[in-house]
């Protein structure tokens, strides 16, 4: 088990170094950062001094090594646009994005799994067919359109929910601002979470349905029936547990993409999170923020993958054996 974790950690490190190289390349190829920082009337000597100060005159390998070494200490330099440390900027906005992603993920799992199970068990019922139809809309409509439609219906027409922002937030401890503790914060979370989670929810629903139908056809389910086990025990004990093994992987990876692709939802709802910060950074070629964001998303995916692998072993004894002996 320890050997397995160690090997996976090494692999993860390799992935992160590769991501760091790509992030670093942005400095070289996405415009000249110095031009972004200086005005037209800055004297040439000043430009040269800045260039030296930023280390842009060093050999490329030295620059790469410095970037990776800094990244390992979560230092990504100073934002060109805000003149503040990037880490601080991201940390300020992380709670907004993470809360949004968490609520979206809970929504997509808590609604998607039961809907998938229902549509698999009651294939021919009218409700199951309605779920199937809705899920088709969910996977095919683009996120921003869903966001805009929800805003139009619930914020503009009905006026029940706010159309933008986080509502009132409460500061927890030193750095974490939460919207989960106030009514306006919770109300503000509803529409963005649904918008962000709808695609994942329908994906999970369709995945659970397909897996469940597959599992219900297996010999061990037939044998469970032949042993006279109660239908509930067969469906929710034997079948569901086997169904969830592959769902865990997909759900885990989806959590990563929920965080990574919150950009669009955050833009539609003007959600003050990391995605919105990233989009502003792209508009003003604020490369340190872009690089840091890229690194952070890469890091998240690596961590999630590792957790998913370990979770897998927890659920499936066959993997436990192979991992244990590795």
């Amino acid at each position: 088990m320890t050997a397995f974790i160690l090997r996976r950690l090494l692999q993860s490190l390799g992935v992160l170094i590769a991501v760091a190289l790509i992030a670093f390349l942005m400095f070289r190829f996405v415009g000249d950062p110095v031009n972004q920082m200086v005005g037209i009337d800055t004297p040439q000597a000043e430009v040269a001094r800045l260039r030296q100060e930023l280390g842009l005159n060093d050999p490329i390998l030295v620059q790469i090594a410095r970037f990776i070494a800094n990244a390992a200490r979560f230092e990504f330099g100073i934002s060109y646009q805000f003149r503040l440390p990037v880490t601080q900027l991201l940390a300020e906005r992380a709670p907004a994005t993470l809360e949004l992603a968490l609520v979206s993920a809970i929504f997509s799992l808590a609604v998607g799994i039961p809907m998938g199970v229902y549509t698999a068990l009651r294939r021919d019922s009218a409700l199951a067919k309605a779920f199937q139809a809705v899920s088709l809309i969910g996977v095919s409509l683009p996120t921003f359109l869903i966001g805009i439609l929800l805003i139009y219906l619930f914020a503009v027409t009905l006026g029940w929910l706010p159309s933008f922002g986080r509502g009132q937030v409460v500061r927890l401890g030193s750095g974490w601002s939460t919207g989960l503790l106030t009514v306006s914060g919770l109300k503000a979370l509803i529409l963005p979470s649904i918008t962000l989670g709808l695609f994942q929810m329908t994906l999970i629903m369709r995945l659970v349905r397909a897996e469940m139908l597959e599992v219900l056809r297996t010999d061990y389910i037939k044998f469970a029936r032949a042993r006279g086990l109660k239908t509930r025990a067969i469906h929710f004990g034997h079948a569901l547990k086997n169904t969830l093994v592959p769902v865990i992987t997909i759900a885990g990876l989806q959590l990563g993409s929920i965080i990574a692709f919150a950009i669009i939802t955050e833009t539609v709802f003007q959600w003050p999170g990391m995605g919105l910060l990233f989009l502003k950074a792209v508009q003003s070629v604020d490369i340190p923020i872009m690089a840091a964001y890229l690194m952070m998303i890469g890091f998240l995916f690596v961590v999630i993958n590792l957790v998913v692998d370990l979770l897998y072993a927890l659920v499936d004894p066959r993997l436990r054996a192979t991992i244990g002996s590795a």
């Binding site: 044998f223 029936r225 042993r227 006279g228 034997h238 054996a321």
Partner: protein, 338 residues
Amino acid sequence: MSSPLPGQPVLSVRDLRVEFATRRGVLKAIDGVSFDIARGEVLGVVGESGAGKSVTGSAVIGLIEPPGRIAGGEIVLSGERIDNLPAEALRRIRGKRIGMIFQDPLTSLNPLYTVAEQLVETIRTHEDMTARQARTRAIDLLAEVGIPAPERRIDSYPHEFSGGMRQRVVIALALCAGPELIIADEPTTALDVSVQAQIITLLKKLCRDHGTAVMLVTHDMGVIAETADRVAVMYAGRIAEIGPVREVVSRPLHPYAAGLMGAIPTLDQDIGRLVQIPGSMPRLTAIPPGCAFNPRCPRVFDRCRVDRPEPIEHRPAHKVACHLYDPAERSAALEAQP
């Protein structure tokens, strides 16, 4: 709960018909099958794939999946009719009074549960026992089916057992509640030959000890000859011949059964080429009128093409569905000879 009266068969199937509604019309998978199995008796059911062997087994235990359905006939278990019971009553019978063993032990067990969990769950579904009592019973069962060190092995997962050991676990699961009848659907097909013999010996011993009736579905005549007391030869959803295993194997009556026995290779006779039956079994959508075997039959005559033969008791306890054995045909044929 009715225990079988002396002389009453454990299982009695009368004129069973099973149909599958498909887009291309109704398929008659089983069309008028009747047989009995007595206490402690092993009935072998043989035939080519698609002859309706497995469907008969599924029908008896009430596990025909839609679009299939029992379209007619009766299934009587120890004097009680069970084919028309509501789903919940039928579920109580499954596992409790009828056990079933499937073909592939590698896929019959749920990979995510230990053997103990699966055994205890099954025992407690049918018997009013505490978890501790059920576990003791489960260990006894594993010992009985020949799993060494059962008190240690019981907490293993299915993948930690070999194929033969898994089939023993499957048998233990089928025996959990001491059923009157076991339906074994190709229980040895997926196993090594050496393991096959062990499993067959085990099955035979258990049934002798408990007086359990067995319906042994297989296409392996060797297994039948070793294990069964009586054998039913199925063809295109009907029983062609049914009788004591010794007679059917050595002196088959039905031309199809004769062809089947002729196709078994023997070591002591060097016959060069194996006898084979020309043609193949008809599709269920295109069963010929009259006797379903008539297009392949070497002894076919006019009546076979129009008139479907019903089982005739040609010898005591040995029935055959073939016009050749109709007394009326016999006298006619004798008269025709010079």
